[in-house]
Symmetry: C2
Subunit: 82 residues, 2 copies
């Protein structure tokens, strides 16, 4: 299944609890869109959050994020991996 | 050790062989800067490449990338992870 990296901005000051809760909001509904969120990494200083997922397409990944209340600013299909 | 996510742009058309070679150029010299590159994901369509690493600081990560010939456009310390 294709993998995706999405980028959120403006999450300055996010803490571990906030990241866990945001990730859980995604994983709670991801099955309904055929998506699986693998990892998320956050930089509280810049407010950047990166999410790695797998799913059918970019639109499905975005639907999960939108329904969870945190639309991604950018989503890329990362066809290559090392 | 702190983890970092860096972002490269303009790598449109990169293929698996190119990603492997670029990653190897980093890992060949990473020890000299106390850095370890964990994963890299690439989107050949947009030209975005994301690299996950661990190391002492952003400057050390950038030194590896610069010496390998592909300076990162953005580097973030991702203090939080899920």
């Amino acid at each position: 299944m294709p993998k995706f990296m999405d980028v959120h901005t403006g999450m300055t000051g996010i803490d571990q609890d906030g990241l866990v809760k945001a990730h859980k909001a995604d994983t709670d509904i991801e099955n309904e869109e055929g998506v699986h969120f693998l990892n998320a990494w956050a930089d509280p200083k810049s407010g950047k959050v990166f999410c790695l997922s797998e799913g059918p397409n970019i639109e499905a990944v975005q639907r999960v994020h939108e329904r969870a209340g945190h639309k991604a600013d950018e989503i890329y299909e990362v066809a290559l991996e090392v």
